[in-house]
């Protein structure tokens, strides 16, 4: 577990650095709705380190940073909503873990 003390963007940069050094990108770095782009929190699931990451994973994290910058360029933080953003991020992270479980763990002994 890596905790990034910083913004959503700082999380994306950390994910980029780790993916480029071989860590598997398991969950997509972005949310599915533009409003959630303004969340100060983002949980991204990474896997184990390999020798090299496939191009698609590098491309997804790079494109995500470009997209994030574009959407949030003019936004000021709205700290009054931080608690709710944290709740939704946590809930979507739990759903991601369930998705991973359905994809993989159901068939492990």
């Amino acid at each position: 577990m890596v905790f990034v003390e910083g913004t959503f963007r700082d999380v994306l940069i950390k994910v980029r650095d780790m993916v480029h050094t071989g860590y598997e990108l398991i969950s997509h770095p972005l949310f599915a709705s533009s409003r959630m782009m303004f969340s100060p929190y983002r949980t991204v699931v990474l896997g184990s380190k390999r020798d090299v990451s496939p191009q698609i994973e590098c491309q997804i994290i790079e494109d995500s940073i470009i997209s994030y910058d574009k959407l949030t360029a003019r936004r000021n933080p709205q700290p009054e909503h931080n608690g709710d953003y944290a709740k939704v991020d946590l809930s979507l992270y739990e759903a991601t873990l369930e998705e991973i479980s359905m994809l993989r763990s159901s068939h492990t002994v």
Binding site: S27, L30, M36, K70, R74, P77, H81, G83, A95
Partner: protein, 427 residues
């Protein structure tokens, strides 16, 4: 399948003590409606208001919009959700056309979703033209956001079914009949027409980001082929709350504009062979699996062409272009329908992801476009949510109280299934 839509055109709505339609005026039994919503013991209170086209009324934050209907001679409601499961898509539906149930529920403080019934805001949402029965639901204390969302979602469905009872014996203004036989029958009728499938991508990711088919959570399915009429007959409902401009409300599922348009061309320019759900998951493995499976289904069904619509923005862009690449590589011509996030001036790269195969793309609008919302005389919902709408940037609240907001915040402003107001102007 054969689906009959009996349309009852609504020209006004009033609150009363019985559900009925007379001369186009819908009367809603307001106490009965409240009682129908309060059958859930997790609902603490419910308020009912009306919002009519042209009034200086703002509704915010909107949870869902639902069309009130009466399913004739069948279970009346949403199969697998508010009623026992029943096959949808085959039968008769009486529809209060021009009326809508709008549910309000602020599960989280940053929730958007505005409908302005007048002014510039009204230009951008199709639900400024409907006579809206606004149902404001307060749940009991102590519910978590998951439970709150379920309570408001189901309350809206029950409300629409209750109001829809007015359609049971109302005079029918127009009947539209939709009929498509089996694939073999249609191919025999139209052997020379290209076979076209419609792939509908739906957000399926968890809290405030879900879609249901016969009550089944789309997160839990692999892409599946279904009959276009099932969606037009209450089989699909929305559990989305935070992608106001490009989420597909339940109303838009009930009236999927792409399905209507494809049906209109069926037997003329194309052979419309059905719809496919492709759930938008959160993991890359999940996305690869669904995109591959979706392309395989289209190939196996013999599609010559496919239309793909997206829901939401951000990680679903990856699914959209991956489906497109996989289809084109199999020799299937593919057109995409998506909105774009191309900055305030509209000049930035519009999608998160791109692919060289994605050359036929229809834009349903720029979610970042800034519009002005004048001060409202009446706000239905949460005044704090109205303030949250303002974009959170310098200068977004003017001295006269008007707000600058991005289209992001407006319900249905850039609908990626085409049920919206934005269009293209040629110069």
């Amino acid at each position: 399948m054969r689906l009959e839509h009996n349309l009852i055109y609504i020209k006004d709505v009033v609150l009363g003590d019985v559900n009925k339609v007379e001369d186009g005026v819908l009367t809603v039994d307001v106490e009965g409606l409240k009682a129908a919503v309060m059958t859930d013991d997790k609902v603490k209170d419910v308020k009912v208001d009306l919002a009519k086209p042209g009034e200086r009324t703002r509704i915010v934050p909107v949870k869902d919009v639902i069309e009130p209907r009466f399913r004739v001679g069948r279970t009346n409601g949403f199969p697998g959700v508010t009623t026992k499961y029943e096959q949808a898509g085959d039968g008769v539906v009486n529809i209060l056309k021009g009326a809508a149930i709008v549910t309000i529920g602020d599960m989280v403080g940053f929730q958007e979703g505005v409908i302005d019934m007048w002014g510039e805001g009204a230009l951008w949402t199709p639900f400024s033209k409907t006579f809206n029965i606004v149902v404001d639901i307060t749940p009991i204390d102590g519910l978590d956001p998951h439970q709150h969302e379920v309570v408001v979602r189901l309350a809206g469905l029950r409300a629409s079914t209750f109001v829809g009872l007015a359609a049971e014996n109302a005079a029918i203004d127009e009947t539209k009949v939709y009929e498509i036989g089996t694939m073999a029958e249609e191919e025999a009728k139209y052997p020379d027409l290209p076979k076209v499938l419609y792939v509908q991508m739906n957000i399926a990711q968890g809290l405030l980001h879900d879609t249901f088919f016969y009550g089944v959570d789309l997160k839990e399915i692999i892409p599946t082929w279904f009959h276009p009429f099932e969606e037009l007959d209450n089989a699909v409902i929305s559990g989305n709350c935070v992608a106001a401009c490009d989420k597909i409300t339940t109303y838009q599922h009930q009236n999927n504009a792409l399905t209507y348009d494809l049906y209109e061309q069926h037997g003329k320019t194309i052979n419309f062979i059905g719809n496919i759900f492709s759930p938008e998951l959160t993991t890359l493995d999940g996305k690869f699996r669904n995109c591959d499976y979706c392309a395989k289904l289209c190939h196996q069904l013999g599609a010559n062409g496919v239309i793909v619509s997206e829901e939401g923005y951000g990680n679903p862009d990856s699914d959209l272009v991956m489906i497109c690449s996989r289809l084109e590589k199999r020799g299937i011509k593919t057109a995409l329908v998506t909105d774009e996030c191309s900055g305030w001036d509209g000049t930035s790269q519009p999608l998160t992801d791109t692919a060289p195969e994605a050359v036929a793309v229809v834009s349903s609008g720029n979610v970042s476009k800034v519009i002005d919302l004048e001060p409202a005389d009446k706000v239905l919902g949460n005044i704090k949510s109205a303030q949250t709408l303002a974009g959170g940037w310098d200068g977004c609240v003017a001295e006269d109280g008007s707000l600058k907001v991005e289209l992001n915040a407006v319900i249905g402003a850039t609908s990626e299934i085409g049920y919206h107001n934005a269009s293209v102007k040629l110069y």
